[in-house]
Symmetry: C2
Subunit: 327 residues, 2 copies
């Protein structure tokens, strides 16, 4: 090889190397140094380093994330419930009977507790009245309009500003390492899809959630998909592995959650062969976010916390492990 | 710039150019020149050429393909039915009562027509007996074993050798042009997933199909997903746009089918804004494959053919347009 050729060879190599490591920024920079951050990075390194005995091919690098309480806040109630309430209020002029019918009357009087006192029947009525009876396209527009303007009653932030900066960095880090990142949430699949790509970098086809039944119909020559007032699938607890199996058809390599509703997803992930990773976000920060676990009505983490301790799963101590909470 | 640096620069450039166009081979080489091939390529060029008024961003380049009769043959009956028959025979020793119970008795006597004479009830019994009552992992193994060895009664080929070479090239061409390729089939989602990645280059998470209900249970400490004897979803006709909406959450840019069962999928695709593409494979080649359309009991193409002519959708004349049928 002549000097010229050698020089050209190294220049070419330099271009390739530059291309493949162009991200630059330190990964997980909002995570404090410590055993949580180390556990994440050690797992990712061992499954993605060529030649490692634990190396996993890229197509099998599937990471699944719960949404409420794992990627964004969920207190004092799931944000989707605020959406439902605002939607009921917006639709009220077309439903004069609501002013004297529960649970609508209490919602219109801003008494959410009283509205919820009707239990599952009341919640189901609120969800169906606010989430169905329109086309999928119309619903997408409604969600986009709401998420662009609505603000959280306590923090006054937009809901999409109440996502966790350390988790955004974790999503980006995993994707940079060849993982495909999915949301697997008890929330509505079509409530999340209109904004997850922009906020989390997760495209609609990688969002799994609860859904209502839909029907394809041609109206006045125009085909539409209508949202029907009947549940199709509840993507919570045992539903999470079922939803993962239906949508992805592979067992995840890593799973991230924050509540007992995620326990089966983490358990299913960890029961696979070879190295796997399970992580719980533990809400320990009453000052910057909320502190809750075993007794909480939203995002209860009780059995899951015991299981994580027994099986050595990673648990994020939000107060200790995160430099910042929101971006 | 010195000569050395210039030389290195061009060498680096050469590496990059080589990397980005390494496919080399002529696309769609098994397609005869003519209006069908031209229509496909013109559409793909216009939506993928930067600066084109019809340019579509890569994430929106979703292409959906029916499977039976579009990517592989489907005559004289859907191949999945042969799987069911072989499975019934394999399970028969554990079910002595089947030798005197329809539709099983007729299947065990190799009289498929008589077995089918029981209509939907008989078909449902055959599907449930052959496809359920086991874990998803066990079913995957059964499918993999079957597809590796089973052969078509007429051609004596393996079923995965009865895929269409021109369609394999079309899948590869679309992916090279930044499309994400999906299967959207009336066939079983878990019947297809074990082999679509190897045969079509389509990973499990891009396969949409019919499904049975499943349940997540922990048995002897081991979590499994069990296949239950109840239909969950039928991914045919109006079900196809519904399945696409549930799994992908975007409207496809291009849709490929061969029967009236694909009509709603093509219609839904074409009803989107901007440039869209719909193609029907018309089975016109009795010599190399099969010739059938308006009167066929399998893969009937009647309303779809009228619609394609009325709306100017592309129709493949298999006999004229394809140089070869199978690889």
């Amino acid at each position: 090889m002549t000097y010229l050729k050698i020089s050209a060879f190294f220049a070419a190599l330099a271009v390739l190397v530059t291309c493949s490591t162009s991200q630059g920024a330190e990964p997980l920079s909002s995570w404090n140094e410590g055993k949580t951050k180390a556990a994440i990075m050690q797992f990712v390194e061992k499954v993605t380093t060529p030649g490692s005995p634990d190396f996993v091919d890229e197509p099998e690098r599937i990471a699944v994330f719960d949404n409420d309480g794992t990627l964004w806040s969920e207190q004092p109630v799931y944000f989707q419930l605020y959406f439902a309430v605002d939607r009921i209020k917006a639709l009220a002029p077309q439903h004069p009977e609501w002013s004297s019918t529960e649970p609508y009357a209490s919602i219109l009087n801003d008494d959410l507790n009283k509205a919820m006192s009707g239990g599952m029947k009341a919640i189901s009525e609120i969800v169906m009245a606010s989430h169905t009876g329109m086309t999928t396209e119309a619903f997408e527009t409604v969600v986009k309009d709401w998420i662009a303007g609505a603000r959280h009653p306590k923090t006054k932030k937009k809901y999409t500003e109440m996502v966790y900066q350390p988790m955004l960095e974790l999503l980006a880090y995993l994707r940079e390492k060849g993982f495909k990142t999915y949301i697997v949430s008890g929330g509505g699949i079509e409530f999340m899809r209109p904004w997850t790509e922009e906020v989390y970098g997760i495209p609609p086809e990688q969002v799994i959630g609860s859904s209502v039944k839909t029907a394809y119909v041609v109206e006045d020559g125009k085909p539409v998909i209508k949202r029907l007032p009947e549940m199709n699938f509840i993507d919570d607890k045992e539903g999470k592995p079922v939803g993962i199996n239906l949508h992805i058809g592979r067992r995840p390599l890593a799973a991230f959650g924050n509540s007992d509703g995620d326990l089966q997803m983490l358990e299913w992930t960890m029961a696979g062969a070879g190295p796997r990773f399970a992580l719980y976000v533990h809400h320990t920060d009453a000052e910057r976010e909320w502190a809750y676990d075993r007794e909480s009505h939203i995002g209860k983490l009780d059995k899951g916390l015991d299981r994580a301790q027994a099986d050595g799963w990673t648990v994020v101590d939000m107060k200790k492990d995160w430099k910042v909470v929101y971006p």
